[in-house]
Symmetry: C2
Subunit: 281 residues, 2 copies
C-alpha cells in the first residue's frame, strides 16, 4: 500500500506524540516538528506509510537522544495484557469455535497501537471485539490453509498485542515462527518484548531484519525472505505489516483492526472494522 | 494567544483541505504539503495561529494559482444562512430576552468555519446552540457596556456567519462599524461578503487592513487602530480574532464557539462550548 496524502499530516501528529513520550521541552518538540516538516518533501508517495514512519521516529530519537521512547509503556502493556490472559484462555476453552475466538482475541490485541491516533482501553475493547461482526472474514480459506500447512509464519505487530497472539498460536496447533522487528520502533514487538510475552514458549522467534513499523520486504534479511516464501501459511498482524504486504506475490492472511480512515477506505470497510482477509496474488 | 505545538499538524491538515477545494491533482497537493512542511521551521511560537495560517493559505494560492479557493462555498453559505434568516428573526422577536437570543444566533453562525477541521450542518447546529448553555457568559458586563457606549466596533469572522451577525447588530440598537478582512482568506468575511450578507444595511463596513484569518493589531491600518482604541464597545467574533486580541490592552467581548481542543484548553472550557467572554486588561 502506498502513502496517501492524508498520511502526511498524521506523520506530524505522530512525531509530536512520540516526542512527548520522552520530553516536555517545547524547543525540542518544535525541533522534531521542524525536521519532520522538512522531511515531507523527501517522502515518496510510492513508499508505504511504515517506511516514512521509520524516518519520523528516527527524528524523534535523534532530537531527544532516546532510542526507545516507548520502552516503559510497552512493558506496561505486556503486564496489563498478561493479567487478563488466563481469563481469555478460559473464554477460548468455553467457546463453540475455539479457533475463531482465538482469532478475535488476537485482533483485539491489535488495538494496542501507539502509532495510531486513537485512545484505547484494553479490557473494554477486548470485550467489544469479542462481540463485533467481522467486516471481512475469509475463515474457510484460512481453515483450509491451516489444515494443509506444515509451517506457519506469524508476523507480529505490537508489544502487548503479542500476549494475545500467544493465545491464537496455541490454537493453531502447528509449528509457528513468530516474526519480530529488528529494533525498537514505536511500540512494535521486538525480540525482547516477544520473550516477555512468553511467545518463546509456543513459537520460534525470528528477526525479520526490518527496522520500520511494518514489514518492508526489500529491507528484510535473505533468511526471512526464504521463510516468507516457503511457509505454508503466513499470518500478518496489524496495519503496518498490511501496508508492506498488501501487494506481495504470495498468499497472506491479514488479521487487523482498521484503525484509521485511510486503511479503512483502502480496504473498503468502515473505520474500526475487524478483518481476517485472504490476500491472493 | 500564541501558537501551540498542536497547531502545527493542524496547519498541514488545513493546507491539504484548502488545496483539495481547488484541485484533485495529487502532485500539486503534495507540493502544497512539501512547502507547508518546509514552512514549519519558520513558524514563530510567539505568533498567533492566524498569522501562520496566512502563510499556509498563501502557499495553497501560489501552488494552485487560485487566489480565493473558498469563493463559491462562501456564496453558498451566505445563501443558505439568508434562507433561514427570517425564521431566526421571528425566534428573536418571540424570545423573552431578545438580546441574548440574538447573541446565541450570532455565535451559532460561528460554526461556519472552514479553517477548523469539523463538519457542520447550519440548520441543525443553530437549533442546538439555541438550547446550549454558555460555558462563559459575561452578560451583565456586556449589557452594562452596551448601555453606556455610543459606538460599537464589531469584528466579523466568517462569510455566512455574517448573515447571523446582522441579527445581533440590529438588536444592539447603537451605531455599529462592522470590520471585514482586507483580502479573501479561508472563508473569512470580506467587504464583498458583508455586502452580500446585507450588513451594509445595518452597519458601516470597515476594512481592518489585515490579510490574515484573524485580527493582528500590528498589521492593521492606523485608521482601524484608532477605531479599535476609541470605540466604547468592541465585539470580536470567532477563534481567529480571539487569537489576535486575547492579550490586547483594552476591553473586548469575545463571542465564539470553541471549536478545537487548543482554544478550549486555553479558555478552560470543554470543546464545543459557546462563550460570551469579557476580556479586561
Amino acid at each position: 500500500m502506498k502513502t496517501y496524502l492524508d498520511c502526511i499530516p498524521c506523520f506530524m501528529q505522530q512525531a509530536l506524540r512520540a516526542g512527548r513520550m520522552v520530553t516536555s521541552d517545547e524547543k525540542k518538540l518544535k525541533e522534531i516538528l521542524d525536521r519532520t516538516g522538512e522531511m515531507v518533501k523527501t517522502i515518496s508517495m510510492q513508499a508505504t506509510p511504515a517506511e516514512t514512519g521509520t524516518m519520523v521516529y528516527q527524528i524523534v530519537s535523534e532530537v531527544t537522544g532516546v532510542a526507545d521512547p516507548y520502552k516503559s509503556i510497552k512493558q506496561q502493556h505486556i503486564k496489563e495484557t498478561a493479567s487478563i490472559y488466563p481469563e481469555l484462555e478460559k473464554i477460548v476453552a468455553n467457546s463453540d469455535d475455539r479457533l475463531l475466538t482465538a482469532i478475535r482475541i488476537a485482533i483485539a490485541g491489535n488495538i494496542i497501537d501507539l502509532g495510531v491516533l486513537k485512545e484505547f482501553d484494553i479490557v473494554t475493547d477486548v470485550k467489544n471485539i469479542l462481540e463485533q461482526e467481522f467486516a471481512i472474514l475469509d475463515y474457510d480459506a484460512f481453515k483450509k490453509q491451516l489444515k494443509e500447512t506444515k509451517s506457519i509464519l506469524y508476523i507480529g505487530d505490537n508489544a502487548g498485542e503479542s500476549v494475545f497472539d500467544k493465545i491464537l498460536i496455541k490454537e493453531l496447533k502447528k509449528p509457528v515462527k513468530f516474526v519480530v522487528r529488528s529494533i525498537p520502533i514505536i511500540n512494535d514487538v521486538t525480540y525482547e518484548d516477544a520473550m516477555a510475552s512468553g511467545l518463546n514458549e509456543v513459537s520460534e522467534l525470528v528477526d525479520s531484519g526490518c527496522k520500520s513499523p511494518g514489514i518492508i520486504l526489500n529491507q528484510a534479511t535473505p533468511e526471512f525472505l526464504e521463510l516468507f516464501n516457503s511457509s505454508g501459511l503466513v499470518i500478518s498482524k496489524g496495519q503496518g505489516n498490511f501496508e508492506g504486504l498488501s501487494d506481495c506475490n504470495r498468499q497472506v492472511f491479514f488479521l487487523l483492526k482498521a484503525k484509521c480512515h485511510i486503511i479503512s477506505n483502502h480496504l473498503g470497510v468502515k473505520e474500526g472494522s475487524i478483518i481476517l482477509k485472504e490476500h491472493t496474488y
